[in-house]
């Protein structure tokens, strides 16, 4: 499974990378939204994890760019990973095109449940290993 995490904070990247390692999944990393979009352009991902507050382009704008694509990559499942607890942040993210929202500190079971839901929903023909 190919997962991309777009996050400017190195520690947060490390935490999620190690969590995914426990599950045997590999994760690519992007330090900002611009390079994240570039990586989506070049490679095929099953899941994109996206921080909201980043220097340069913010996460919601990046999601907007993904959803505006003309190819099938426009519908790649996106999970927002944020420490933002503003009211309606979840609803706002979903309205803007995100599929799931996870609040930091990241709870491992919530992360895997969210990924599981998206895999099960989007790829019922995908082979379970």
């Amino acid at each position: 499974m190919n997962i991309l995490f777009v996050e400017d904070d190195a520690m947060n990247r490390r935490v999620v990378r190690d969590m995914l390692t426990v599950a045997g999944a590999h994760m690519d990393e992007a330090h900002d939204a611009e390079s994240g979009l570039q990586m989506i352009e070049e490679r095929q991902y099953d899941i994109v994890l996206m921080d909201l507050r980043m220097p340069g382009m913010d996460g919601l704008t990046a999601i907007k760019h993904i959803r505006a694509r003309k190819d099938e990559k426009a519908s790649v499942p996106v999970i927002v990973v944020t420490a933002d607890t503003a009211l309606d942040i979840c609803r706002d993210c979903i309205d803007q095109g995100a599929d799931e929202v996870i609040l930091k500190p990241v709870a491992m079971n919530k992360l895997f449940d969210a990924i599981g839901r998206l895999i099960a929903r989007g790829n019922s023909r995908m082979m379970l290993n």
């Binding site: 935490v15 969590m19 420490a83 609040l103 930091k104 990241v106 895997f112 599981g116 895999i119 995908m126």
Partner: protein, 801 residues
Amino acid sequence: MICRLLALIAFALAPAVHAAASTSAFDQRVAAIRAEIMVDPARALTDAEKLRAAPHDGATQGHELATADWLRAEALLSQQKPGQALAIIHSALDNLRGAPGDFAIKGELILARAGAATAQGRVQDALQDNQIAYRLFVRAGDARGQAKALLVIGTLYSDAGDYATALRYFDQSIEAYSSDTALRLSAVNNRANALSQLRRFPEAVAAYEKALTYVRGTPNESLILRNLARAQAEAARFEPARTSLDRAFALSSPGVASGDLPALYGVAAFIAFHQHRLDEAETWISRALQQAIATDPETQRDLHHTAYDIFRARGDNSKALAELEAFRKLDDEQKAVAASATAALMNARFNFTNQELRINNLRNQQAATEARFRFRMLLGLFSAVAVVSTLLLIGFLSIRRSRNQVRAANATLRTTNVALEKALAAKTEFLATTSHEIRTPLNGILGMTQVILAGRQLDPTLRSRIELVHGAGETMKALVDDILDVAKMETGELRIQTGEMDLKRLLEDAVTVWTGQAETKRIGIEFDLDHCPGKIVADEVRLRQIIFNLMSNAIKFTDRGQVRLAAFAETDDETGAERLVVRVADSGIGIPADRLEEIFESFRQVDGGVTRRHGGTGLGLAICRSLARAMGGDVAVDSTLGTGSTFTLALPLERVAAEAAIADRQAATSLGTAELLMIEPNPLGQGIMRALLTGECAGIQFVTDISSALEALQAGTIDHVIAEGSALGLDPAAAGELAAACGAAHARFTLLLREPGAELIGEFAAHGVAHVVSKPISAPDLLSEMNRVYGNPVDCRTIAA
């Protein structure tokens, strides 16, 4: 006499210009129904339902269903059925959840939801929804939608009497989109109305004149002309006003709407009065008053005001007084409506407790002013005819004075609000930033402790140390969440989400969690859950928060003795309704009687020293009470100093109907009725399986190794065990042992193996493992494989070797 309600639906539903260009059969039907809603909403509803039931193309099905639902909702809204419309909107939005894109139809649905909120008088919700809809239209690049949302927001502010703000939104709406005449007409006319209310008459006249260019030859022409005439008269341009009025009369005479004429007579009277033609003015106003009942309350109020001016000028004091009374009554009613709308809009922006208090104070002052004014008017009514003229003068002056006072109070209110808004924005910003900044390092701590604890080969001593770090991190997270919760409660942003939950299990959890804490303090925990209801409908997260807070509190303030937890249902003698009571009693330090209520305030403990001795933010009880009240109940306390305190949570009780049936468990006959247990060490595997199987079975739980699986089987509630081969170390003997244990517990057993050869399958079969599913496998195939085992009786063979 200003006409301000140009039917909003006219622009909301008139097909957009660009829609006509793309003419799929579906788009054409949508356009037809939109037009129909304005004429015959009942038929439009039937047609929209037919449209929904018609077959849809797979690729666009989601969009088409949502569009049909939107039309149904709009049709219901124009039949004044907001409740039914809301149900449809909610399910349509649920269906769109997770579907990427299609922001325009989401925007339309949210806009319709705002319309329903307006119809139900929920101004605050309406404002929020319009703002969301606006953002969605921005994302969709739909300028017409944006203009529509902005226009509605402006109208909300206009209804609340905040014309300056309304004006800004109308301006933005006009800027956003100009190709839709109906939309633009509404915006320009409403803008002119706001200018009139702000007494900026020359600008209003210019705006109405512009509006007039859009309505030539339409039924709206006479309405705009009437508005224009009134504004021209107010601007003391009487000749143009008469011309406009004459044109309006000319358009109105044949078969006009009944409410239209009295308003026109009123404007005529107004003009005549200001031109000092009193006879003419009286003729007009008498005609207007005869038919006034056919008009809206605002027009009536203005008519009475004009009538009062005219009768007073003619010296007909008794009639003038009657008109003044009628005016005052309508004016009061309309002010009250506007005030509550204003309050709701203010709440939508900021409503911290302190600020509400200040506003209430200002409102009370305002109410007192008005009460004094009313008292003076009563005096006037009871006086002799001889002094009526004098009193009228006093009355007139006091109206002006009262108005001035109200105006002054409003000005103070505005200034105070601006200052408060700034201060509160700073507080909210501070809380949000602090929470964000603390969450980031916590993510590092809790993230890594979870990763370490997920490892199976961990030295027990090290595990217990890491668990301690993890527990401390969780506590810290709970504190940050508490602080945020308080902020949310103060802004009214906290929401209760109810669902089915197991109350008894929650309370047993609480006992387990707190027993450890209590032991370290050498105090006991007693519990009485014999009469505790099992499954109920409540907000599990929030109920847990209250009970854990009460338990934590009780243990914190108790140094010897015990903490007792009891839960039971009781029936209210008066209403006969059932109530849930949860009681936490401690033998702690107690609370002085005069401070019992203080402990429920935020950031309060009975004395500062207590905080230092016992720790905590002092937020727990404030949160408990707010949550309990939000759920329709309360938390009360009873205490004796030095002996202990008893906290009682009382909530309305809603039991789950099927509770009895659950107790009487039947063995599963299909996957759909089965309780599953899955042995899957990989957390991602768990996540995928949970998503896949939830809804396909009665329930699913996960364990990571055989010994926990064997333990779980003891309860006798598992119907089917699924094991991941790698979790058993691919050991046929171990798998056989597990299969036998399943047979003994009357549970089916499925083993998942990755690409097994025939030889390996044979080996497992020899150990009594009858049902092996090989991977990789697609999700549907896995489900049908698992369903297949329900064709056979449970395999009770014993192990061969």
